[in-house]
Amino acid sequence: MSSSPAAQPAAADSFGKYDPPIELTTVRNLNDVVENNVLSVLKGETFEDNRWTRVYEELLGIKLKYDWVIKGGDTSDQYVQKLNVTLASGELPDFITVNAVQLKQLAESDQLEDMTALYEQYASPFMKEVFTQEGSGPLDAATFDGKLMAIPQVEASIERSMYIWIRSDWLSKLGLQPPKTMADVRAISKAFAENDPDGNGQKDTYGLGLTKDVFGGAMGLEGFMAGFNAYPNIWLEDETGKLVFGSIQPETRKALQALQEMQKNGEIDKEFGIKDGGKVSEQIAAGKIGMEYGEQWNSIWPLQLNKNNEKDAQWQAFPIVSESGETPKVPLKFSTTKFVAVKKGIQHPEAIIKLFNMHLEKNWGETGEFDKYYAPPNAESVWQLSPVTPYPLKKNLDAFRDIDAARKAGDMSSLKGEAKTIQEKLEMFSSGSAEGFALWGWERIYGPEGSMGIANQYDQNNQFLMDKFVGTPTPTMVERKTTLEKMQNETFIKIILGQPIEEFDKFVADWKKLGGDKIAQEVNDWYESLK
């Protein structure tokens, strides 16, 4: 793409300017970060009139107008309620960001523009590349009866990768090596619980941190179970090409049994079943837990809390391991959950696609000015001023690769964009200042032994195992999913706490009977319909 994309015939449509300008209405939430860290430091910019709205108006001829703006996060009660009222009133703005269930309801009530042909015609090559970086999932999720009914607000599933976060200062204190197999993980967990790693003469430490939610991005079990080839909560393809649910497979039973043994041995807090993430993070902060499975950002939360308490504590991310020592699969839950729906009958539905094109172009394209539009040093979240925020799905991994290459070449001057911003944080940390100390978590992600290096390794080894079901919830899922989830977590926790493993077999039978079989049927029908 040249510096003036509009001059190129092939891309003319994707970036074509409306003359005279058109107006598009939508609704927004204004979160604390944007209000306090962005708008308050930018001179002469407001939520309605800022660098993003100006780009859209000057380059595309699109004026954005907000029907309403609610202060608070996009999951805050006020915002969700106002959004629900807007949906219930049936008076939609020109475009609106909704979740999968809302999208389905809107599509079923025939209120949305069919975007199939427009996407083909107007999406820039860069946008199409980004939207297929994780396969057809994001687009499939917005497709009903073969029609694309919304533009997915793509999210990187790769960020759901699991790592083993271990207190490496405890490892060296006890003379242990990083794990290569699940047996090693068990041995480390045992040593952390029994060999007094904190040296206070009491048996008051635990090997593995768990919460009452069992799964999740921090202190979750996905990574541990993957070590047993068990992939709960996601849909997998079996040898016959059918989709099956990971939670009810025999491998999950085996993983639960291992956890039960660890719990009996005092390696897992007997009270984990009533503790949420906040409570367990208190234990981590107090130096009582030495290992947890979680995502790449865990060093920022909750582990930095521990670092703040104990200056000499050190945590490091390690790749997840398998029982046999072979390279394990890393399960990824599908993460695109928001969709930009376009109201039926508006004059320029394709304009919404142009917003996506422009957002990608201004941040990561040839004409991109990352420092101005994505994360200027004084206002890091400036990108959130745009109502659509697509991003290349491997951008964090790419930033790591750039930094790592520069680090190895010993020349940081070549870094630009996001990589440069991150490198500045790493330098701040190594300066040893108090401000830099607060950035320890970042060093643990992008530094030489950071979690992103492992993501890179996962990616190169092709270790990712994507959730195979990416459609909107099926009818029986809507009806029964919470009931089945409740049963699952109840059973899993009880087994870990010592109930006979046969409870698992009863759970599988009940799961099937209480709607699971029907859900599996619907999921497979959906899967067939894609072929």
């Binding site: 949906l87 049936g90 079923e108 503790k275 409570k279 809507v478 009806e479 919470t482």
Partner: protein, 300 residues
């Protein structure tokens, strides 16, 4: 004659008007939303849009869900204990407190028991987890010092409902006590003097003067709280329960929250809400009737 009376009372009738308008706007008009309970409701089509009518299917669906009986039982069990003890404890406490003659002690006791009422369950939830922990909590340290086994109050299905009831009473009884104390101050001191002259001791006086003097307030609070029988306390349960104690702790409101709101099944959520309202109406009407027969109590 009759007409003139109406005329004279007109200002009084006008004074009710704002209140009636308020009730009409915020309590009666929204009742139209009950229709959602009988629809396969799709929000995008609007409240009065082209929704599909499905009769009693939402109600049938809820009754069919596994565990519904268990949830119903938990709700009734937990809330009826809360109801009875929530009435009895403050009454007893108010009477005992009334016997205290030292004003300073009386006030400080009153204030300190009232304090937990102001803490939200989110905060109390975190405190209770620490306080009741079987390994390091204060309560279990005391139990252990008596040579007994520690109790997992929040993780044991045998103990969880008791914990809910006890912590709820502990949080709220200060409030009730103050209401009853106020009722007691309204009792004619002459009655006590007369009883003293007749040679009545403290127990006699409490039984024959204080308690009957509080009767009206007790009946009023009892009638009002009966309407809440199907509310076992969403805030509290939501902040204290966990998968380990779903079996004994899941109540109607947490159940509806998970089924109805998390999955956007508004029709189902409304059906349960409607069901609860009907049961509450029956309960409060019969309580009112009984209160009239037994205690000659009526509001109008």
């Amino acid at each position: 004659m009759r007409k003139r009376r109406m005329w004279r009372e007109l200002p009084l009738h006008l004074m009710i008007l704002p209140g009636m308008l308020f009730v009409l706007t915020f309590s009666y008009i929204p009742m139209a939303g009950i229709t959602i309970a009988f629809q396969k409701f799709i929000p995008a089509k609007g409240l009065f849009g082209d929704q599909k009518w499905i009769g009693l299917d939402n109600f049938r669906y809820v009754l069919d869900l596994p565990n519904f009986i268990q949830v119903m039982w938990n709700t009734l069990y937990i809330s009826s204990f809360k109801l009875v003890l929530g009435l009895a404890v403050p009454i007893i406490f108010a009477i005992l407190l009334n016997e205290l003659k030292n004003e300073a002690i009386k006030r400080s006791v009153q204030t300190s028991i009232y304090l937990p009422y102001f803490l939200s369950w989110v905060v109390l939830g975190g405190i209770l987890i620490d306080l009741l922990s079987p390994s390091g909590g204060l309560v279990n340290s005391i139990i252990k010092s008596f040579g007994l086994d520690p109790i997992f109050f929040l993780g044991d299905n045998k103990w969880f409902p008791t914990t809910l009831i006890a912590s709820d009473i502990w949080k709220n009884f200060g409030y009730g006590t103050i209401v009853y104390m106020a009722a007691i101050t309204g009792i004619d001191p002459g009655l006590y003097e007369a009883a003293t002259i007749d040679g009545a001791n403290r127990w006699r006086k409490a039984w024959h003067i204080t308690l009957p003097g509080m009767r009206m307030v007790i009946v009023l609070l009892a009638v009002l709280s009966l309407g809440q029988l199907l509310n076992a306390g969403f805030d509290q349960v939501f902040n204290l329960y966990s998968p380990q104690v779903y079996q004994s702790g899941d109540i109607l409101d947490t159940f509806v929250y998970r089924i109805g709101l998390l999955e956007a099944q508004y029709g189902v959520a409304t059906a349960v809400g409607f069901f609860k309202s009907i049961v509450s109406l029956v309960l409060i009407s019969s309580a009112y009737y009984i209160a009239y027969r037994v205690a000659k109590y009526r509001i109008f």
